[in-house]
């Protein structure tokens, strides 16, 4: 035992600085605060807080808060997905939920055009907006459901991810097909496919906040079950946990997270994948903590991306979804590169 401790001790010296979950949480909360202020100040012509109350409180404030909330929903859903499917590569986008939500929204846009009720993502009033969120939720649920059915359950992570990728491609193709047939739907959906936080208003913030509070209440309480699942499905069952029921519940919350986020701001890639990774690399924490801190990290990531997207080319704007895809993609590649190097060495 002492030899083992010695070996462990030499490999992981305790003298070095270690983050604790509380410290990481505090740093992220501080970053959120700073970014919220940045978000209020980042305007279409440089930084300023004196641009009139309409601009600050009706445009910048809700889009800043909204970006944080969308990021938090995505970060949370990433952590949950990686927990349920015991796979660090799982994220809502790789499980068919985002493409399901997209297909549903394109369907609604096309139907709106056919029936002469133009629905615009930028400015939908309460009812159509709830309709869009509802459709996106059903679509996300359908996407994940299809993936799980095709993979015959979530027990085999590789099969599941493969099924998720296939479902994503197929549903994405259906959405493209629909856009080809209905150019009006295409025009509406274009904004949305690139991810857009520019039109997040207080009407978007309300459903986002509601979804975040609801889902966090469920997911952080399911942490114990996810912790047990790490030890394997049979162990979790033998511990007396209703694994199947909890998994179903979590998949439902996953769909709600993705559906709401997609309905409000379109496709924003990689935040759900990267946020939990950053947390897991920094601290050792159980699933409840991981989910909560990942939500915070996701919020910080997307809010930072939003601030960058509106300042680099001001008064023009980068599509925020493209920005997260590029930055998140590079981060993931670096991570993979380091891992493979470590394995080779």
């Amino acid at each position: 035992v002492t030899i083992v401790q010695d070996v462990v001790g030499t490999r992981e010296p305790n003298t070095g600085f270690r983050w604790t979950p509380a410290m990481l949480g505090a740093v992220l909360a501080l970053a959120t605060l700073v970014l919220l202020i940045c978000g209020l100040g980042a305007g279409s012509s440089g930084w300023s807080l004196n641009d009139g109350s309409t601009v600050i409180w009706e445009i910048r404030a809700p889009r800043t808060v909204g970006s944080f909330l969308v990021g938090a929903l995505l970060g949370q859903s990433g952590a949950v997905a990686q927990g349920i499917f015991r796979n660090p590569l799982a994220e809502p986008y790789l499980l068919g939920s985002a493409s399901g939500a997209t297909l549903a929204i394109v369907l609604v846009l096309a139907a709106g055009h056919l029936t002469g009720v133009p629905i615009s993502i930028a400015a939908a009033a309460w009812l159509p907006r709830l309709g869009l969120v509802g459709a996106a939720f059903v679509g996300a649920l359908g996407g994940i459901g299809l993936t799980v059915v095709l993979a015959r359950g979530a027990a085999r992570p590789t099969v599941l991810l493969l099924a998720g990728v296939v479902v994503g491609v197929v549903l994405g193709a259906f959405a493209n097909l629909l856009m080809l047939v209905s150019p009006e739907a295409l025009r509406g959906a274009q904004v949305f496919l690139l991810g857009n936080t520019g039109f997040l208003g207080w009407r978007s913030v309300a459903p986002l906040l509601l979804a975040l509070v609801l889902t966090l209440a469920v997911t952080t309480r399911s942490g114990r079950a996810l912790d047990a699942l790490v030890l394997g499905e049979s162990t979790a069952v033998s511990l007396g946990l209703p694994v199947a029921r909890i998994r179903l519940l979590l998949i439902g919350t996953l769909a709600l997270c993705t559906g709401t986020a997609v309905a409000e701001s379109g496709l924003i890639a990689f935040v759900g994948l990267v946020a939990p990774h950053i947390v897991r690399r920094s601290v050792v924490v159980n699933h409840s903590g991981l989910i909560a801190i990942s939500a915070l990290a996701g919020g910080v990531l997307l809010l930072a991306a939003d601030v960058v997207a509106r300042t680099v080319l001001a008064p023009q704007e980068l599509p925020v979804g493209l920005l997260t895809a590029v930055v998140g993609g590079i981060y993931l590649l670096l991570l993979l590169h380091r891992r493979t190097r470590a394995v080779v060495e």
């Binding site: 080809l180 025009r187 001001a314």
Partner: protein, 306 residues
């Protein structure tokens, strides 16, 4: 003829060698004046126009409209999916869109020539199959003129291109003259689609607005169709907002946009989808577009009058 030919040949070679594609207007005009046996398209390729083509496939609505404007509508045997003007082209065979043209259906129509956008994906395959392609791209009003002249030359009637261009210019001038002096110089925000993408001063729509004496809320240095931060428009407070009915439907509900004075005062030109197409297609209907814009400005002015 014998005296002209070597000169044209030399000039053509020199221009091809220099790869001057952007100066296509000069090239086309020179060719139009000297001979109409061949035209140079935007890729710098020479396409024989003798005898003039009788079976034409067009792969862009503005090119379809150009051919019809030049009186050769009856020679079109197929168009892209979105070509819908003049109405008689609606019944013609459709061969797909910009991204998904059906090579097979184009070939089956046995065209003498295919008119396509430079960015059309089917051009290379048509080249390989030996079907002549004239690639033309219009991004500015100057380009519209060049496309008219090149197409007219291709059709064997260079004078028709010059005539069409003059008709277009006259219509724009007439439209400009109808705009009340108090409206001139007012800033216009023209939204092409929600994101929001605007038509800046350097786009053909911006140029047209400039020819009508209006100023653009979106400066030209941002590029022709910049994606803007929505708050920019609220801060700039354009005097007039122009867009499609579809975008306009939700505009007031956008966060903070209810504070746009142009929306509050009803200084809006919202065009139905089919009319909006006239505005966003860089083709021969820009004269009609100018007329639509001026009519709307007249209406706004009469409403605003005490």
């Amino acid at each position: 003829m014998t005296r002209i030919r070597p000169a044209r040949h030399r000039m053509g070679l020199a221009l091809l060698g220099l790869g001057i594609v952007s100066c296509g207007g000069v090239v086309a005009d020179t060719l139009a004046l000297t001979d109409h046996a061949a035209v140079l398209d935007d890729r710098g390729r020479a396409i024989a126009s003798n005898p003039p083509p009788t079976r034409i496939v067009t792969l862009l609505p503005s090119l379809t409209e150009t051919v019809c404007e030049l009186g050769a509508c009856s020679r079109i045997v197929g168009t892209d999916r979105y070509s819908n003007w003049p109405p008689l082209v609606r019944s013609l065979p459709k061969v797909g869109g910009l991204e998904d043209p059906s090579l097979e259906r184009i070939v089956a129509l046995h065209p003498d020539v295919v008119l396509a956008s430079r960015s059309s994906r089917v051009i290379d395959r048509l080249d390989e199959l030996g079907i002549p392609v004239v690639a033309l791209e219009a991004n500015t009003i100057g380009d519209v003129r060049r496309v008219l002249v090149v197409t007219a030359t291709l059709l064997g009637d260079p004078a028709a291109g010059v005539d069409a261009w003059q008709r277009l210019q006259t219509r724009i001038k007439v439209a400009a003259a109808q705009i009340p002096p108090v409206m001139r110089g007012n800033s216009v925000y023209f939204e092409v689609s929600e994101a929001p993408y605007a038509a800046g001063a350097s786009s053909f729509i911006g140029e047209l607005l400039g020819m009508l004496g209006m100023s653009n809320a979106v400066p030209g240095n941002l590029g022709p169709f910049p994606k803007l931060n929505p708050e920019f428009i609220v801060r700039v407070q354009p005097s007039i907002v122009m867009t499609s009915e579809r975008e306009f439907a939700g505009m007031r509900d956008r966060p903070g946009w209810s504070g746009l004075r142009a929306l509050q005062l009803g200084r809006i030109c919202a065009f139905p989808a089919e009319r909006f197409e006239v505005l966003i297609r860089p083709g021969p209907r820009l004269g009609e577009a100018a007329n639509m814009l001026s009519s709307c400005l007249v209406k706004i002015n009469s409403r605003g009058a005490p």
